[in-house]
Amino acid sequence: MQRMLGDWRAVAVLLGPALTVYSVVMLVPIFWSTGYTMFDGNAIRGFEFVGFDNFIRFFQDPTAWQTVGFTIRYALVLTILQVACGYGLALLYVFYLKRGGALIRTLVFFPVILPTVAVALLFSRMFEAAPAVGPINSIIMFLGGENVDWFGQSGSSFWVIILMDLWRSMGFYAVLLYAGVVEIPDELIESARIDGASGWRLIRSIVVPLSLPVLLSALIFSINGTLKVFDTIVALTNGGPGTSTTPLTVYMFRTSFSFGEYGYGSTVAFMLTLLCLLVTLFIFNSTRRDLTKG
């Protein structure tokens, strides 16, 4: 038995295809791309070794800083709202809906699986000001306001992006967190009630601490996903107006494929990867400390 399960040839046959594809198409390109950061040029024009010039350029590039700023702002704001709304919904599912909740859960989960491009095009039409007036502006005008050009300023574009992503994702976080809240033993909540805890106090002192692990994995998942945002923004604002809603991912795509700057594009991709790793490690570390404390 042990000898058969340790058969190297069988390991090679079973693991081989997956490991080969993964190594050749992901691992090798990761190192290759890191190598590109030291060069200037592209596959057609040829490459020229420039050392750390790309990194220096990145740190002196105001657009790059703007995209870093947008990426972080977007990730933070959306993560907080996603997890908060999802948690609110999860509590609603568990404490108010009980048996009838399945239908609402199914409905609110709907948008999660919809193609981002389709949803983004839909939302860009909903918030449209001209030539057709979208529903949002129609309602504002009906209430006596003015026709707002939502995609004309960076501030309002930012919030439209956030709103749309919240619409798309809150059902997902609700179901994710619901799984954590529903696992809290009934007896614990019952005994807290007998001790006189109710409403807000019950949630704060009993429910939140007990669902902390799942809250934290939702947080890590959310921040990791939001740092990589791409589809939403390409389809909704295409980074505009100007570059005010351009995240690192879109900036990388543009430098690489619109301007053919492979070296600089790889540098942007490298910085993005670094950001993802750092943020994940940071949350991971701080949560571990919190868990041992609590």
Partner: protein, 302 residues
């Protein structure tokens, strides 16, 4: 993490009520529940309204879009917009390309991923922990990091101009999560099952193919579903490696729906969005419990 979707809780419910006080308390309970009811109604409207608006829009004419208010119903319920989206917009081609790229990718992902999960979890050899960790690391890496080298490779191998770059890239990107999920599912299979099969004379490949695979059949279905939504909805990879119009997938095609006519042609565009959305919704309606479980399970492990 397992999800008990159907697990109903009775925590907030008052346990037993004396029948005499029933009616008055019923009225009070109704009042107490009213804010929640209103909240739920608003929630349902927020979720459903954009989709209803989209469906109505797909039947409207250009002039209805430009001059009628948004709540007006379409004057005629004909399929002109849909016909235009398919004939002039090339929606059919886009859907075909997506199907050609997505389904082979999913089959390969599931096959490779399950085999690797089996080799990493059921089989016993030195270094498997390290290999599993190596796969795991791939979950965090942004796809942007591998695009440029891949673009160069595909270009040199003359694969640009086909859908192969999409399939290859999707399979690789799908590997980390799939391998990790399959390894986790195999962990829950009791060792005795494999031992018994071995005693009955099964060799290792039979053990994998006839015992292991059927045992995790549900998990395979879940993983395939998760990957389907990831790949079908992908824009980044498709946008990078597809440069001719007749190879566009549905997402790339939809993104370029406006550019083709210069000005926005609202009706066909809404029809295109509707086809994309309604297709996904039908799948979801049939499999919603499975989809919810799958996507959330995939994420917690991610």
């Amino acid at each position: 993490m397992t999800l008990d979707i159907d697990d109903a809780r009775t925590v907030a419910m008052p346990s037993v009520q004396p029948p005499a006080a029933g009616r008055r308390r019923g009225a009070r309970r109704f009042l107490r529940r009213l804010p929640v009811m209103i909240g739920l109604a608003i929630l349902v409207i927020i979720v459903a309204y954009p989709l209803i608006w989209m469906l109505l829009g797909s039947f409207k004419t250009q002039s209805e879009f430009l001059s009628e208010p948004f709540w007006a119903l379409p004057q005629q319920w004909n399929l002109d917009n849909y016909i235009e989206a398919f004939v002039d917009g090339g929606l059919g081609t886009y859907i075909r390309n997506s199907v050609i790229a997505v389904f082979p990718s999913i089959i390969l992902i599931v096959l490779f991923g399950t085999a690797a999960g089996f080799a990493l979890e059921v089989m016993v050899w030195r270094g498997r922990g390290v290999v599993l960790l190596m796969f795991l690391a791939g979950i965090m890496i942004p796809v942007q990091m591998i695009l440029l080298p891949l673009f160069t490779i595909y270009f040199r191998l003359h694969l640009t101009g086909t859908l192969w770059p999409l399939i290859i890239t999707y399979v690789a990107i799908g590997m980390p999560l799939t391998v990790f999920m399959m390894a986790t599912y195999f962990r829950s299979v009791p060792r005795e099952v494999f031992e018994a099969a071995t005693i009955d004379g099964a060799n290792i490949y039979r053990l994998f193919w006839s015992i292991g695979m059927p045992l995790v059949r549900n998990a395979i279905f879940t993983v395939a579903l998760v990957q389907f939504f990831f790949i079908w909805n992908d824009l980044l990879v498709a946008l990078t490696f597809v440069n001719t119009q007749d190879l566009r997938t549905i997402q790339v095609g939809l993104l370029n729906f406006t550019g083709q006519y210069g000005a926005i042609d609202y009706g066909p565009m809404f029809a295109g969005i509707a086809v994309n959305v309604v297709g996904t919704l039908i799948l979801y309606l049939f499999l919603n419990q499975q989809v919810m479980k799958g996507l959330t399970a995939g994420s917690v492990k991610g």
